[in-house]
């Protein structure tokens, strides 16, 4: 079938075009961060000055540390709380379980603009106000549903007989959880944790509404810088972010894959 083969080659060509569409802007942005001209003039002249000047930018560095701190704390809290909730949803049957599971979707499905502004109003009303604490509260809430969904997916592959066997051999609830269940769902927990880190580290909208000038995260700082005007420094910091977050997702994909295969 000659036509089939031609169509298949057209299909492959199309995929290449799509990948070009997806990656070219990112590659160009990265290239421009190594270009000497501050106005993005061509011809291209290699420099790493923009990366060097990032180190002089205290505001950006402070925001970067905030982002990393918040992402790490978000990961820890949401992974622990999320894994606990997933275990409960897996182990127990009770009225309203379906409702609890359904409640995980609003935080994922409602646009962050709405969630973010609602958080701003509420946190202001109860006296938490804006700042890093408010951002952390918000990030954990956004990450939790992802962790619960990912860990629950892993739990689907767990055989409850293993827990029963351990229990009949005299293990108590804590031992069963720590020695049998947790090791089995670990790939799911790690994948969930990486998801949580990515959700927090890349989060812009919610952080934007909850930050104040001194207490802000990297994406918010970048947004402010973009609105002031484009500079190669933004390209440099953006390039670093995109490399970090893509590496993180590749890692997640690996773990999630392992979760699915075993």
């Amino acid at each position: 079938m000659a036509t089939t083969r031609i169509l298949e080659w057209l299909g492959r060509f199309y995929i290449v075009l799509l990948l070009g569409f997806l990656y070219l802007p990112i590659i160009i942005m990265a290239a421009m961060s190594f270009n000497a001209s501050p106005f993005y003039q061509l011809p291209f002249e290699w420099t790493t000055d923009w990366y060097a000047s990032l180190w002089q930018n205290d505001q950006l560095i402070a925001a970067t540390w905030n982002s990393i701190e918040i992402a790490v704390i978000t990961t820890i809290i949401s992974t622990v709380l999320g894994a606990m909730a997933s275990l409960a949803l897996y182990r127990y049957e009770f009225r309203g379980k379906k409702v609890l599971q359904a409640l995980l979707f609003p935080p994922i499905a409602i646009p962050w603009l709405i969630t973010g502004t609602a958080m701003l109003i509420f946190f202001f009303g109860i006296g938490i106000g804006r700042g890093l604490v408010a951002i952390l509260l918000g990030h954990v809430a956004l990450a939790l549903p992802y962790v619960i969904v990912v860990v629950s997916a892993r739990l689907q592959t767990f055989a409850p007989e293993l827990e029963e066997a351990a229990r009949s051999l005299g293990a108590n609830q804590w031992q069963v959880t720590m020695r049998i269940t947790l090791p089995w769902i670990m790939p799911g927990v790690i994948a969930g944790g990486l998801f949580a880190f990515a959700v927090s580290f890349d989060q812009f909208v919610v952080s934007y509404f909850l930050s104040t000038p001194g207490q802000t995260t990297l994406p918010v700082e970048i947004y402010a810088a973009i609105r002031k005007g484009f500079t190669p420094e933004i390209n440099a910091v953006s390039t670093i972010i995109i490399v970090v977050s893509m590496a993180l997702m590749l890692l997640t994909a690996r773990f999630f894959k392992f979760g699915g295969e075993k």
Binding site: F21, L24, E93, P111, A118, M119, V205, I226, S238, M249
Partner: protein
Amino acid sequence: MADQLAIGSRRGLKPALPLLLPAYLWLTVAIFLPLSAMVFFSFMTDLPLAGKDWAFTLGNYAAFFSQGLYATLMLASLRLGLEVTLWCIVIGYPAAYVLAKVLKGRSREAIFLLVILPFWSNGLVRIFSWAMVLREGGILDTALNAVLPFKINIDLMYSYPAVIIGLVHSYVPYMVLTCYLTLQAIDDSLIEAGRSLGASRRQVLWRVIIPLSMPGLIAGAALIFVPVVGSFMEPRILGGRTGTFYGTVIEDQFVAVFNWPLGAALSFILLAVVLIILALAAPVLRRAG
């Protein structure tokens, strides 16, 4: 111990509660209470803070319905959502088909990952990267002028098409993902059966493949349409002055104009629109999920 030895899932909310409570309390404090507070707040005249006078009012909602501006912007945002979704289908569906039915083995896995990867990287940064491409004297401009014999100026930056391009770039991986999942589940023998019974390629596409992959299409459409209607950062960066949409007006109420009650009302109206759309898509999503 005896009750714990019971086979299968255990009953009762009591033993589950200590495990569930922390997560759901957190969600309540950071998501559900804020959403309720926003509704409450949208009926107020002013912030009930710092001793300011406030009263209940319907004025914020009246503003939406009486001033044509907000309704117009809502329509503009809905139109934006529709256009971006359509482009994502046009661009994403064929790619999902090639991934699911043409590519095999390792190359399929690798390319699938490559398509999905940008989606999980920073959205703000990806929108910014288009500014490099689209602006006058940018890469697109320079490249086209190097190839074409005549001088043209491509200055798409700060225009409606720029916003569309940026948003499609942001969301097309979603469509590829959801369509890929449903297309992959279609048994090849169904397609072959259709062909051997004399159906043309086009007939197989319209009568077999598209109907069977409809859940993926609708799931993808809902997952793209909803956030696009509420987008504000993308129009701000790529749209400039032409980038005023419903989302940017809400942003203004909170960060520039400081009319929070009006912002809350506008947010809540958006939430209502979003919930209606999700409710319409829910039966299909449930079947697909």
